[in-house]
Amino acid sequence: MITKRIIPCLDVKDGRVVKGVNFLGLADVSSPVKLARFYSDNGADELVFYDITASAEGRALFTDILCEVAKTIFIPLTVGGGINTVEDFDRVLKCGADKVSVNSGAIRNPTLIRDAARKYGNQCVVLSVDAKRVDGVFRVFAKGGRENTGMDAIEWIRRGVDAGAGEIVLNSIDTDGVKGGFDLEMLDAVCNVVDVPVIASGGAGGIDDFVKLFQALPKVDAGLAASIFHFGEVQIKDLKTALREQGVEVRI
């Protein structure tokens, strides 16, 4: 049976991984290539590279790095950050990305998802959404979670899937960084309206949070996290062993 996916997310700025990373036996922890290799060897099912560079030079550096990673690591790679046009899709796909994640770019450009899905297929287009409760309603936030767009998150995701998004990454701003577990209520609301894979993001503090996620919401396909993996608080191998013991199917 299909397995639940565990996905580490790497933030890359000017060709280097940002956020403090703390691994035993890994000397250059800010090298995206080395870190990607480490994760791949240790059971990651997929990798997400998020380009937080602002400059054009940094973007070029990012695609160089992506090519380097794709030449040696043969698991699915998703790229996000700064994707505003179909040309941006082209730029990262040529360097070995399998999927491209859009967020603010899709808010600014309403035809981006449709255009990209038509050209590259739905499986290639990931809609990433930062959402937060405002007066009891899930709202879409843009610009890295700083700006309330006023849009209803559930409606936005439904429209995105209709336009051709083949996967949803739902990042709950309410639970992000709190390490108190994933936002099960928000995830459930999304799973009820879409029939494409949903990836949970924001809130993982430990192994138990992933167990709870997949047990409570069997419709969620994957769990994504950054800091708990980067800081070595959770080893993917341990996480997968625990999931399997709890009856959640994973690739070991």
Binding site: T3, E167, V196
Partner: protein
Amino acid sequence: MIAIIDYGVGNLFSLSSSFAFIGQNAVVTGNPDVIRSADRLILPGVGAFEDAAKKLRESGLDRVILDEVAKGKPLLGICLGMQLLFEKSFEYGEYDGLGLIRGAVRPIRDVIPKDLKVPHIGWNSLSFGAEKHALFRYLKEGDYVYFVHSYYATECEESVIASTDYGSPLTAAVANGNVMGTQFHPEKSGEVGLAILRAFCKM
């Protein structure tokens, strides 16, 4: 030399990188002469069947592939490239494939339980049945590979060499003599996938 056939569909970067990684000389090419001089052929493909089949025909590469296969050259179709090996596909209509393997390609939705999602995306395990094909000589029963597809090959029982379970058994790989195909992506299936490509290079 391995020819990765380029007929204008799909991203061939990972495929060519994976052969380079295992020390094999592979070229991405749409040149009939290069394809004829290759020892082995890879037929890749992503996207819709109709468009891919059309491109393959318009480029004339369908004839080249059929000629080379008739001479006994090993061919591996991957994902949509595997589906193109069949007689027919019913993806948004009814379209002819290369007819190298008997059977048809039909929507997954027709055979899986309602609560399962389409496409079938992610890592799923392989089951080889009674006899393990040489393509899987380095694998063990239950090894995981990466799938992304909405259609599956059926009516091809005699050619199935691996299946996977997605609420219903789905064809994961097929073979008919020197013609082989995988529905999953070996170039995205980590060490297991590379081991399949290695085995293909020994055929």
